[in-house]
């Protein structure tokens, strides 16, 4: 720089540079609405002579987190940095992450996915100073810098962003460690049970509830459980005796998004939270002839059931994109991509 101000620490890191707009605190935000992706449950109903007619709902161990929607008014196209202040920290704390940051009119809409059942998180929102209209009148203490156009680029009266640590994170390869094929078991478990990736937070305060973090979610994974049941035989009933065969295939799945928490011992932890879940099934039964019964037992068409279910998946009332959220099988995307987590303290901005 030929002129202006550049402040560095003894590590040579630039703290203030008058050529660039610094992020400054704007406000804390509480959510304006909360929703969940509706479950996708579909399959033939009714009862059968021999085939089971259940389960026909989501399993209790298929997670679907809450989606908290926040509206941030910002007069500019540069995205805000919204730090999550979690409702709890520690080994039982919920996972939470920003899964969407999108411009809506002159506002920014931010979606935070968080484990269902926990109290809502709060956002601490920052914008580049050229997008802030907060008044500083009457306050004459502090430091301001200006760029070559005379625009303010740093103003200590507006509480510039202060960072206690920055961590390069990745996400675990999958959310659930169990096998996809569960045989004939119908009490399935798709809860997040992977060991999270844990990172030490340097300069962490003794009170971990003071920690706020910025780490938008980019990783996701989709996992399923597949059950197959079948039986055949001869039902003796006098003149009404018959051969029978039946088969039933069930497919449960959960679509997870990368999520984070401040865990025990102030570790920053990267894992997943359930975003959407579904269960589809198909049943075939035949009691009319031996050959037909054998054909029924050959059922293996949960893919067909999935295809049928897609048409039923319109979620407009929930304000989330429709779809079955089964984009790929037992795999993940973006999980190995480095994702920086920026850590700060809520008490800096009170």
């Amino acid at each position: 720089m030929a002129y202006g101000l550049s402040v560095k620490n003894n590590s040579g890191e630039v703290l203030v540079d008058s050529d660039f707009n610094h992020y400054h605190f704007v406000q804390t935000l509480t959510h304006s609405s909360v929703t969940r992706v509706p479950p996708l449950v579909d399959g033939p109903g009714g009862s059968y002579d021999q085939a089971p007619s259940s389960p026909n709902s989501l399993d209790s161990d298929q997670p679907r987190g809450n989606i908290y929607k926040f509206i941030f008014g910002s007069n500019g196209a540069k995205p805000p940095m919204c730090f999550i202040k979690p409702s709890a920290t520690g080994g039982s704390a919920p996972y939470a992450s920003i899964v969407l940051t999108t411009r809506v009119g002159t506002n920014w809409e931010i979606w935070v996915l968080q484990t269902y059942g926990a109290s809502a998180p709060t956002l601490y929102c920052f914008s580049p100073i050229d997008q802030i209209s907060a008044s500083t009148s009457g306050t004459t203490y502090g430091l301001q810098t200006f760029n070559s156009s005379g625009d303010t680029t740093f103003d200590s009266r507006l509480k510039p962003l202060r960072v206690i640590d920055s961590i390069i994170t990745t996400s675990p390869s999958l959310a659930n460690t169990g096998s996809s094929n569960v045989g004939g078991e119908t009490n399935i478990n798709l809860n997040v049970n992977v060991t999270p990736n844990s990172y030490t937070i340097n300069n962490a305060p003794s009170n971990s509830s003071d920690i706020i973090y910025y780490c938008p979610s980019i990783a996701h994974c989709c996992q399923d459980k597949r059950a197959h049941r079948e039986d055949d035989g001869f039902q003796a009933a006098g003149n009404n005796s018959y051969f029978y065969a039946w088969a039933r295939d069930d497919l449960w799945w959960t679509f997870y998004r990368g999520a984070y928490r401040v865990g025990a011992s102030s570790k920053f932890q990267s894992s997943y939270e359930g975003y959407a879940s579904g269960h589809v099934w198909d049943t075939a039964e035949d009691t009319s002839s031996l050959l037909a019964a054998i054909a029924a037992a050959a059922l293996g068409q949960w893919q067909l059931a999935i295809a049928l279910a897609i048409g039923a998946s319109t979620f407009t009332s929930a304000g989330v994109a429709s779809g079955n959220y089964y984009p790929y099988e037992n795999d993940s995307r973006n999980e190995g991509q480095s994702n920086p987590a920026i850590i700060s303290r809520a008490s800096f901005y009170t």
Partner: protein, 96 residues
């Protein structure tokens, strides 16, 4: 603090100091869905990080890859992992 800079508000509360760390926004760059893009003119600082944002909802049947990237000098090269399943990605480059 024996050296450096501390900034206080009118109430005597510290608002910033050289014992803090921070990140300064160097630039915001957008790569459209299913398109590899090279962004030039990225300012330099001794240390830089890149944060990615998904700016559209992940649809139910979308594999939703984010662009990969490399940052070298003043060039941010962003690459689509998939020609049909890569989402629009916003890159925020921070420096310190």
């Amino acid at each position: 603090m024996s050296y450096g800079l501390e900034i206080f508000d009118s109430s005597g509360n510290e608002t910033f100091s050289t014992t803090d760390s921070t990140w300064t926004l160097l630039g915001v760059y957008t790569s459209n869905a299913n398109t590899s893009t090279t962004h030039t003119g990225v300012p330099s600082m001794p240390t830089r990080i890149v944060s990615r944002l998904m700016v559209n909802q992940v649809a139910g049947d979308d594999e939703a890859y984010v662009h990969t990237y490399s940052l070298s000098g003043t060039t941010l090269t962003t690459t689509r992992p998939s020609s049909s399943e890569t989402v629009k990605t916003v890159f925020m480059v921070f420096g310190k």
